[in-house]
Amino acid sequence: MTFQRGDKIEIFQASTDDAWEDYMNDFIGCHGFIVDPDTSVNDPDALVEVSLEGKGTHRLPQDCMRRLGEQV
């Protein structure tokens, strides 16, 4: 899945990536928007910046999130 800026997403699972830290478990179930889609161009392995409702903006691995269909 390629995430675009403005995609509405859900953090639906913990990531298996090294970049996943313990406190990020608090984000599971949160909804938010993709703010900065890629650190390098369209790399599925790149960390993407997401703004999560009530949890702030964080850079997370892509395997923890899924698109919810809307875009702002």
């Binding site: 703010v35 161009v41 790149a46 409702e53 702030g56």
Partner: protein, 722 residues
């Protein structure tokens, strides 16, 4: 002290008085109180770890030193008492990350503030800008971001993405309002630094003068540390100065804001690369006790295609942009092809055009809608005449001698790979074609240049080639070594670097003062709530965001003058007033529930309250059914909804927006206040079986009851008929 409020909140309020002007008389007592306050605030926010309570108890013991003034020792006893009496509640806050009374959330951050990686208190500064208080707005911004002018011009604005106003119509133009306020404050010489704490004699070295490093240095300097920044370039700003072109971010803006940071005593040592011009051992010997690595991501990935290394006119975009920023204004070629789809590719293309290129084409291997570049940047590039070749995979650079003739490409189509729903560009057989070119610029991403970093033997590098840190406090695996910015995230956003730098500064301070680090990144802090601005529901609904005036196209194609010219003052004030003040209304929806379900009125059409399922909103509709009963306001925990009386009218206001205003009526018999006609009619309808309404006179319930009693008594013969 008020016993009704949450003890954690109570402790915060008490500590705040201890460090205030009428607080403890001794610096030691103040210092202990400040340290405890940081830890208790984290308990309130839900970001505290297991080490927090033991650390607080250790600090409380310091109050009891017999040499301390009595007031300080008494303060220690009060805090110890709060801890002893309410230990379970403190532990509950840490474990559940929740305050059962909601007292700890009274100053809860708005969604825009939460979304900002630096945690800027956006509603507060927008309220100040709306009132024309630009310098005060800058003061609020710089509590969390030392570069408001820079960010006002180039931030990727996650705040606007989460702006609640966007659920009604369009997000507030937060970014441009910040730039306006910074420009006005700087121009009026009202852009000032806060007073730093007295020097504490400790020294910290920051490696890199980019946004992350500058942010870290600024906050450390304010905390009283001696800070030196080691910078490899001859200019400050890192990628701000050498990566972002001047037509987006004038150099003067960077220089002025960096000068403000230097005015706090931060020393920047230019043309100095760690490991080459200075060694860590030398810095250790000079007495630096902690380091923050903020070296950015300045190395570019190469295309890896035939001919790439054979011609001098094949550039990496980051090198090209750096050379231009440092004064090399030679045109790269008549026909320039830029390979890539991100903002760096757009910057390289627009820069080539301004240097005199006749034709500039951006070759991107995917489709337009998959470009990571900002939509506005892409649109502006197109307006200036930049062409795009989508679904184009570069294959080889063709030419003779030192002259490039063309970039050989293959047309691609997007196909899903087996086991993945992600579409990848796949070359189409027979799709070879050439784009005429005499210069090729690659802009396909950057990575961290770790040269010289081997001096930090204890740090770990991630598999992505970035410095591995705990993002809650930016500390590496090597004690005393912290990192921030692109060096940690890979090439990312300026505001993310600024937020990381601020977190690193906070963590360095805690490291040097030996207080525990937070478990999770701290929740942004709000210091106060600005009063709301009153306006009618009609005005609140019909205000429209202004359109950005742009430099004319001829100049955009030929000069590096700033393209976005900034809003007019009247537009800025009006746009700031469009803010919904989500720092006050927390969108809990109780008001809607009570009005609809308990009162049966359903006057509030506030569809924007829900994040996931927003519905239509119209503040003007409230007046159609609202009876100004005040049930919504009485149940609003944060006083976002208020009922007041002004000029003989009862009004319902939501964060300053007048949702309804009805004339107050009075009892014709005793003069008691009755509320509005609609309210009286509603109450009369509910109570008509008990106190029959009179159709001829407007009476309060007491007078109605008295009249009814007199009438009943007379009818029964108990009283003589008059």
């Amino acid at each position: 002290m008020d016993k009704k409020i949450c003890p954690v909140r109570q402790t915060i309020l008490f500590l705040t008085t201890l460090i205030g002007p009428k607080g403890l008389p001794d610096p030691k007592g103040q210092r202990i109180s400040e340290q405890i306050l940081v830890l208790v605030e984290e308990i309130a926010e839900g970001t505290a770890g297991e080490a927090h309570l033991p650390a607080i108890e250790d600090l409380v013991k310091e109050y009891n030193d017999a040499r301390n003034p009595e007031q300080t020792r008494m303060a220690g006893m009060t805090i110890q008492g709060l801890l002893d009496d309410h230990l379970e509640i403190f532990i509950n806050h840490i474990q559940t990350r929740n305050c059962p009374t909601h007292d700890c959330g009274k100053l809860a951050p708005s969604p825009c503030q939460m979304a900002c990686p630096a945690g800027i208190d956006i509603p507060t500064y927008l309220a100040l800008i709306a009132q024309g208080k630009d310098a005060e707005a800058i003061e609020v911004i710089r509590r969390d971001n030392p570069l408001p002018w820079v960010c006002g011009l180039i931030c990727t604005r996650p705040c606007e993405m989460m702006c609640v106003r966007a659920r009604i119509d369009k997000a507030i133009s937060i970014k441009f309002l910040k730039a306006f306020a910074a420009e006005r404050a700087m121009s009026g010489r009202a852009y000032t630094n806060p007073t730093p704490r007295p020097a504490n004699g400790k020294k910290v070295c920051v490696v890199g003068a980019g946004p992350g490093g500058l942010s870290c240095a600024y906050y450390l300097a304010l905390m009283g540390y001696g800070v030196r920044i080691i910078e490899a370039l001859p200019v400050p700003g890192g990628m701000l100065m050498v990566g972002i072109p001047r037509y987006r971010l004038p150099g003067e803006v960077i220089n002025r804001e960096v000068a403000m940071i230097e005015a706090l005593g931060v020393k920047i040592q230019y043309n100095t690369r760690l490991g080459r011009d200075v060694t860590k051992e030398e810095l250790d010997r000079e007495g630096f006790e902690a380091y923050c690595i903020a070296i950015g991501a300045h190395k570019a990935w190469t295309l890896g295609i035939e001919g790439e290394k054979d011609f001098s006119n094949v550039f990496e975009a980051v090198r090209f942009l750096r050379d231009v920023a440092l004064g090399d204004h030679r045109c790269p070629g008549k026909n320039v092809v830029v390979v890539g789809g991100g903002n760096v590719a757009i910057d390289a293309a627009r820069t080539s055009l301004r240097l005199g290129a006749e034709r500039v084409i951006i070759a991107y291997r995917r489709t337009r809608d998959q470009m990571p570049a900002d939509v506005e940047e892409v649109e502006q590039a197109e307006e200036e005449g930049i062409e795009f070749s989508f679904l184009t995979i570069p294959a080889a650079v063709k030419g003779e001698g030192q002259n490039i003739h063309a970039l050989s490409c293959i047309k691609a189509e997007l196909k899903a790979k087996q086991g993945s729903d992600r579409l990848a560009p796949v070359p189409i057989e027979g799709g070879e074609f050439e784009i005429r070119a005499d210069a090729v610029i690659s802009a396909i991403g950057q990575y961290v240049d770790n040269e010289g970093m081997d001096a930090f033997t204890g740090i770990n590098w991630s598999r992505r080639g970035t410095i591995d840190v705990n993002h809650a406090h930016m500390e590496t695996a090597q004690p005393g070594v912290f990192a921030a910015g692109d060096a940690v995230s890979g090439p990312a956003t300026v505001i993310e670097a600024i937020g990381g730098g601020k977190r690193a500064a906070d963590a360095i301070d805690r490291y040097l003062r030996k207080i525990p680090q937070p478990r999770a990144p701290r929740t942004p802090v709000r210091h106060k709530t600005e009063p709301v601005l009153e306006m009618t529901a009609h005005r609140k609904m019909t205000l429209e965001p202004p359109k950005m005036p742009m430099l004319n196209l001829y100049r955009r194609r030929t000069t590096f003058q700033q393209v976005e010219l900034g809003y007019e003052e009247a537009d800025v004030r009006q746009e700031a007033a469009r803010c919904l003040r989500c720092d006050i209304c927390r969108r809990c929806g109780k008001c809607v529930d009570i009005c609809r379900d308990k009162m049966g009125i359903n006057a509030l059409k506030l569809g924007y309250l829900d994040f996931d399922e927003s519905g239509p909103t119209d503040f003007r509709v409230t007046a159609e059914n609202c009876i100004t009963c005040g049930a919504c306001a009485a149940n609003c925990e944060n006083n976002a909804l208020k009922i007041d009386e002004k000029d003989g009218r009862r009004r319902l206001l939501l964060c300053g927006t007048i949702l309804n205003s009805q004339a107050i009526r009075y009892c014709e018999s005793c003069g008691a206040k009755l509320g509005s006609e609609e309210y009286t009619r509603f109450i009369a309808g509910k109570t008509r079986n008990m106190t029959p309404a009179t159709k001829t006179r407007l009476l309060c319930n007491n007078c109605l009851r008295r009249n009814a009693a007199v009438s009943n008594a007379a009818n029964s013969g108990a009283l003589p008929m008059v």
